[in-house]
C-alpha cells in the first residue's frame, strides 16, 4: 500500500531533519512586494508563498491516542502564477494527463497542512489570515514560508507540513462530524492514487469555525449549512476549493467530492472497472477485509477503494478504543435532557441507531460527543470569555449549587484578578534599587493563583524560581545573584560526580547496576517526553553514545540537557533516584528556563513536594487517592455511591493525573498556567486534588448514567486527556474548595461535642477495613508490598484507620467527623517528606 515518498518530503525515519522554520530572508519581505513571491517549487525558497485561506486546529491523529494528535493549520496557498504544473504526477497515474481542464491556476493553488510545531513566527500570519475570514481572499498578500510540495505521503506522516497542488487532487473524502466520527475530517486523494492521512477538524477549539457558526446563526437563525448538517470546518475547505476549481459530489458515494473531474474520472467512478456501489458496500461492510488474496482488490490501484478501506478501518479503530459498554441503547443518551436538539434529532436517525446497536462502544462515543457539543454551545454563548459566573451557571451537578465568588476584599474585580501578571507588573512588586519584594508573598501568590503569569514576556523565567523555592521571597537582588552563582557551581559539581561514577565504574556492583539501569531509563524516557514541543522536537546531532537504542536516530541538544539534569537529580537524591514521570515534571521547567543549571534547581524545588508521589511503597500516592476518596464522599455522595457500586473508589483512574499533576491531560501551555497556580499554595497546598474533583464533577452525570464498570470509568477518564478546559476547571476547583471549607466549618460547629479528632489521630483498627457503601469489600490492598516484605508504612496505617467524613450511609449528622486527610486539605504548608522517610521508602540506591 505504501508508496515510496517523493524526494520533496523529508523521510520520517533515520535521516535527521530539523524542524521546519522560516528562513531569515523571508521576514525581509513586505506586503508591497506583492507579486514577488516565489514559486513553491524551490525547496529552499528564499521567499514566501501567498496564503489565501487558513483554518487552525486541524489535527492529524497519528495513533489511537488523543495524546498523539498533532495540531496544525490547513491552508489554501497560491504560489507565483505562470510556472505551470510544478510537480509532475507519477508516470503511472492513470488520469493525470487526460485531464483537459487543468489550468495553470489550479496547479499553482495548493492545499496544505502545516503542524503548529513547525510554524515558528509564521503562525502570526496564519492567525491573521484565519481571522480575516473567507468571504474573500485577503486584499493584501500574506506571505508564509512554503511548505514542501508533495503528491504522496508515507506512513509516518504527522509532524511534517505538506502541500498538494489542487490540480493533483483527485478527490476529497468528506466526513462531517457525526455519531461515529468524533471530529469531522477530510482525506485528500491524489491523482497518483495516494491518500493523505485524515485531517480532523477540532471545531470546538477553532475560533474561526465558532465565529462562522455564529455568523450563520445570526444571519439564518441556524447553525446548519444548506445540506442540513451542522456547519463545521470541512465545509469551509470545500468552499475555498470551489472558488478555484470545480468540485463535484459523487453520486455513487456522497461523501466523496471529485476535484475538477474530467469525463474519464466521472465514468470511472460510476461504472466500468471501478468500484460499483456493491463493491463500495463490500468494503464498508468489511467483506474483503484482511483478505489480500482477493486479487481483484490488490491489483486495482484505485484511490476510492483505498479511501473506503481506510475509512472503514479508522471507524472500527475508533470503536475499538472503547471498552465493552454494557447493553444500553442510544435512546438512553438521547433522553439526556442536556442534549441540544440537533443531537437529539441525530440520535433518532435510523442509521445512527444501527451503528450504535452494532457497536456497544459507540455509545460511549455518543455520550462524550453529546457532552462536547453541549459544552461547545455553552462556550459560544459565553464567547469563550470565562468568568466565574458563567462557569458556574453552566454547572449541572449536585455540587453545582455554588455561590458566586464575591469580589474580593481588595476590590479587584474578577476580570482584573484573572488577568495574567506581566513582567512589568511583576517588576513593580519589587524595590527597583534593592530588588526586595515590597508586597507580601501572599499577595503576590494570590495574584498569580488567579491570574497566572504572562505567557509571552518572559516573566515566568524569574517568577517560577520564587514559586519553586529556588529564591527566597524576602531576598534582595544581590542575594539572589549570589545564590544562583553558588547553585550553578553546585550543579556542575553534582554533574561531575555522576560523570566520574560512570567513567570510573565506582561503587559496589549493585550500585553500578543501578546507575546503568537508571541511565537507560532516563535515556528512554527523555526520548519520549514532550517531543511535540518545538525545543524537544527533531534530531539534529549525532547521539554521543553509540550503545544507546537511539544511536541511529540521533538526538538534539535539549534532549541531552534533559538527560544530564535527570542524571544529576539521580545523583542529588540517591535515596529516591529517577522514577518514571519525573521527565514529565522537568520538561516544562526546562522549556521555560532554557538553562540547565537553573532548570535543575527549579526541578529540585518542585520535587520536594512531589517526592511523595514516587516512593517505592507508593504511600504518598495512596494517601492522595484516599484523600480524594474522602473528598468525593463528602462533596458528592451520589457520585461516590455510584463509584462504590462500580468498585472504583480506589480512585485509581486518577493515578496519572495526580502523579504528574495533569501533565498528560492538558496541553503544554495550559500545564504552565496550571502548575504556577498550584505552586502558590494560595488556598491549599493540595489544591491539585480540588482540580481533580472539579474534573470529575464536570463528568459526573455521564459517569452516573452511562458507566457501569471500573474499566469503563478508567477508560473514560483516561480519554478526557486533551478535552478539558482549564480556566473553567480552575474556577470550579476554587468553588469546590470554598464549599469544602464551609462544610468542614459547619461540621466542626455541630460536632463541637465531642471535639473533632486531632489530625493524625489513630483509632482502633479493625482489619479488614470495610467502608460505607463499598460493596462490603476491603478497599485497600494492604498486604502486597512490591517486595513482598509485607511492611506497610506508618502513613498508610494512619490513613486506613482514620474515620472518614461520613457522607453516605453513615446515619445521623452527629456522627459526621472530618478525617485527618480532609483536614490536611485546609493547610497551605507544602507536604514535604523528611529525609529519613525518603531513605526508608525511596527505593533508590541509597535506601
Amino acid at each position: 500500500m505504501a508508496t515510496p515518498p517523493t524526494d520533496s518530503r523529508p523521510s520520517t525515519s533515520g535521516s535527521p531533519s530539523s524542524p521546519y522554520s522560516p528562513t531569515a530572508s523571508f521576514y525581509d519581505m513586505s506586503d508591497d512586494e506583492e507579486g514577488e513571491y516565489s514559486t513553491i517549487r524551490a525547496a529552499k525558497s528564499e521567499k514566501g508563498v501567498k496564503l489565501l485561506y487558513t483554518k487552525s486546529k486541524t489535527y492529524i491523529h497519528p495513533s489511537a491516542s488523543a495524546k498523539d494528535n498533532v495540531p496544525g493549520y490547513i491552508a489554501l496557498i497560491q504560489q507565483k502564477p505562470g510556472n505551470g504544473p510544478n510537480v509532475s504526477s507519477p508516470p503511472s497515474s492513470p488520469v493525470a494527463s487526460s485531464s483537459t481542464r487543468r489550468t495553470a491556476e489550479t496547479a499553482n493553488i495548493l492545499l496544505a497542512w502545516v503542524p503548529e510545531s513547525s510554524m515558528g513566527d509564521a503562525r502570526d500570519i496564519y492567525n491573521k489570515v484565519e481571522q480575516a475570514g473567507s468571504s474573500s481572499p485577503p486584499k493584501q498578500s500574506q506571505l508564509v514560508p512554503p511548505p514542501p510540495v508533495t503528491t504522496s505521503h508515507n506512513a509516518g506522516l504527522g509532524t511534517y507540513p505538506f502541500a498538494v497542488p489542487v490540480s493533483d487532487i483527485f478527490s476529497i473524502l468528506v466526513r462531517p462530524p457525526s455519531a461515529g466520527w468524533w471530529f469531522g475530517s477530510i482525506v485528500i486523494n491524489t491523482r497518483g492514487g495516494d491518500s493523505f492521512p485524515a485531517l480532523f477538524f477540532h471545531d470546538s477549539e477553532c475560533q474561526s469555525t465558532i465565529d462562522q457558526r455564529k455568523k450563520l446563526q445570526r444571519e439564518n437563525f441556524s447553525i446548519s449549512t444548506e445540506g442540513g448538517g451542522m456547519f463545521w470546518g470541512g465545509d469551509e475547505i470545500m468552499r475555498w476549493l470551489k472558488r478555484y476549481t470545480v468540485v463535484e459530489r459523487s453520486s455513487q458515494e456522497p461523501s466523496i467530492y471529485l476535484i475538477d473531474p474530467n469525463e474519464v474520472d466521472k465514468l470511472g467512478f460510476g461504472t466500468g472497472g471501478k468500484p460499483s456501489s456493491d463493491k463500495v458496500r463490500n468494503v464498508l461492510e468489511g467483506k474483503h477485509k484482511d483478505e489480500p488474496a482477493q486479487s481483484q482488490w490488490q491489483n486495482v490501484e484505485d484511490p476510492v477503494v483505498k479511501v473506503l478501506k481506510q475509512a472503514r478501518w479508522s471507524f472500527l479503530e475508533k470503536m475499538s478504543q472503547v471498552t465493552t459498554f454494557t447493553r444500553r441503547t442510544a435512546q438512553a443518551v438521547a433522553e439526556n435532557k442536556n442534549l441540544p436538539p440537533q443531537v437529539r434529532r441525530l440520535m433518532q436517525d435510523p442509521q445512527v441507531q444501527t451503528v450504535s446497536e452494532e457497536f456497544d462502544s459507540a455509545r460511549l462515543y455518543l455520550a462524550r460527543w453529546a457532552m462536547g457539543i453541549a459544552e461547545q454551545s455553552e462556550k459560544e454563548r459565553s464567547q469563550r470569555v470565562w468568568s466565574a459566573k458563567e462557569a458556574l451557571e453552566m454547572e449541572d451537578s449536585e455540587v453545582g449549587q455554588f455561590e458566586i465568588l464575591d469580589v474580593d476584599a481588595q476590590g479587584l474585580s474578577l476580570a482584573d484578578k484573572r488577568k495574567p501578571v506581566t513582567l512589568k507588573e511583576w517588576n513593580g512588586f519589587f524595590n527597583s534599587r534593592t530588588g526586595s519584594l515590597e508586597k507580601t508573598p501572599d499577595e503576590v501568590k494570590e495574584r498569580i493563583f488567579h491570574g497566572g503569569l504572562d505567557e509571552e514576556d518572559g516573566v515566568r523565567k524569574e517568577a517560577w524560581l520564587f514559586l519553586l523555592g529556588v529564591y527566597e521571597w524576602n531576598s534582595t537582588k544581590e542575594e539572589r545573584h549570589a545564590k544562583m552563582n553558588s547553585l550553578r557551581d553546585e550543579y556542575i559539581r553534582l554533574k561531575g560526580a555522576w560523570w566520574e561514577r560512570m567513567v570510573d565504574e565506582q561503587g559496589t556492583l549493585e550500585e553500578r547496576e543501578w546507575w546503568k539501569e537508571q541511565k537507560m531509563r532516563i535515556e528512554k524516557d527523555v526520548h519520549r517526553t514532550d517531543r511535540h514541543i518545538p525545543i524537544f522536537a527533531g534530531e539534529d546531532i549525532p547521539h554521543p553514545d553509540l550503545d544507546s537504542p537511539f544511536a541511529e536516530s540521533g538526538t538534539n541538544v535539549h534532549l541531552e540537557q534533559m538527560k544530564d539534569m535527570l542524571l544529576t537529580y539521580n545523583e542529588y537524591n540517591r535515596d529516591l533516584g529517577y522514577v518514571q514521570g519525573m521527565s514529565d515534571l522537568l520538561a516544562p521547567i526546562y522549556a521555560v528556563e532554557q538553562d540547565d543549571a537553573v532548570a535543575f534547581w527549579g526541578f529540585v524545588g518542585f520535587m520536594e513536594r512531589m517526592e511523595r508521589n514516587f516512593l517505592r511503597d507508593q504511600s504518598g500516592m495512596r494517601l492522595q487517592l484516599l484523600t480524594l476518596d474522602h473528598l468525593v464522599q463528602l462533596l458528592d455522595p451520589k457520585l461516590y455511591a455510584h463509584l462504590a457500586k462500580l468498585d472504583s473508589t480506589n480512585f485509581f483512574f486518577f493515578f496519572r493525573m495526580l502523579l504528574v499533576w495533569f501533565k498528560r491531560e492538558f496541553e503544554f501551555s495550559a500545564i504552565l498556567r496550571l502548575w504556577e497556580g498550584l505552586w502558590t499554595d494560595s488556598l491549599s497546598s493540595n489544591f491539585h486534588l480540588f482540580i481533580a474533583v472539579a474534573i470529575l464533577e464536570k463528568h459526573r452525570n455521564v459517569i452516573i448514567e452511562h458507566l457501569h464498570g471500573f474499566d469503563e470509568v478508567l477508560k473514560y477518564v483516561n480519554e478526557l486527556s486533551g478535552t478539558i478546559d482549564l480556566p473553567s476547571t480552575i474556577v470550579r476547583a476554587e468553588s469546590l474548595f470554598r464549599r469544602f471549607q464551609r462544610t468542614v466549618e459547619s461540621i466542626d460547629r455541630k460536632s463541637n461535642f465531642p471535639a473533632a479528632p486531632l489530625p493524625r489521630q489513630r483509632l482502633p483498627q479493625p482489619p479488614p477495613v470495610t467502608r460505607p457503601g463499598s460493596n462490603g469489600r476491603p478497599r485497600q490492598p494492604s498486604s502486597s508490598d512490591a517486595n513482598g516484605s509485607g511492611s506497610t508504612s506508618a502513613r498508610e496505617r494512619t490513613t486506613v484507620g482514620d474515620h472518614v467524613a461520613a457522607g453516605i450511609g453513615a446515619g445521623k449528622e452527629e456522627t459526621r467527623v472530618i478525617s485527618s486527610e480532609l483536614r490536611a486539605l485546609l493547610s497551605r504548608e507544602i507536604p514535604k517528606l523528611d529525609k529519613t522517610e525518603v531513605r526508608e521508602h525511596g527505593g533508590g540506591v541509597g535506601s
Partner: protein, 205 residues
Amino acid sequence: MASRKKILLKVIILGDSGVGKTSLMNQYVNKKFSASYKATIGADFLTKEVLVDDRLVTMQLWDTAGQERFQSLGVAFYRGADCCVLVYDVNNSKSFDTLDSWRDEFLIQASPMDPESFPFVVLGNKVDMGEDKRVISSKRASAFCQAKGGIPYFETSAKEAVNVDQAFEVIARNALAQEESNDFNADYPEVIAINMGENDKGCAC
C-alpha cells in the same frame, strides 16, 4: 451450550519499562506504530474483537507502567485476568532477567485459582534492531519458557509488525481456555499444554 453471552477476555501485559508493551498493543489493535508513545503512567487498555474458533470474543488488553514500583497498585486491575503477557526486549538482558519476577509478582497480586495452570505468554520484542544489537538468543529464551512449564514464546517486532498477530492469536486462545475453565468452575489443568506448534513457528523468524 450456554446462551451466547459476550465473552470478555482480560489480558495483562507486563514487562520492564521501554520494552514495547504499549507499542505491541497498538500494533495489534490499531495496526500502527509510533516511536513516540509516552511512558505509560498508571494503566490503560485497548479492546479488540476477535474470532477464536468461530466464537466472537472481546479482548481487553491492559497496558501498565513498566517501572516496578508502580506495580504495587496493580491489584486494582489484575483481578479477573485470563492471560498474562510477559514482554522483554531481546536487546536488553536486564529486561529478560526480570521476567521471572514479573511472573511471580503477577501470580501474587492476581492470585488466580490455579496458579500452576494460569496461562502466560512470553514475547521477545524489538527483533527488528538487528542481530548485532541482540543479547538474548532465541535458544535461551525458549529454554526459559520450557523450564517454566512450556510457556508459549514469540519473537516480535511491534515496529515492523512481525509475529504480533500470531502471538495475540495464541494469547486469545489461551485466555479463552482459561476463561472457560473458570466459568465451569472445574479443574482442567491441561489447558496450558497447547500450542507447542505455534511456539516453534514463533521462534522461526
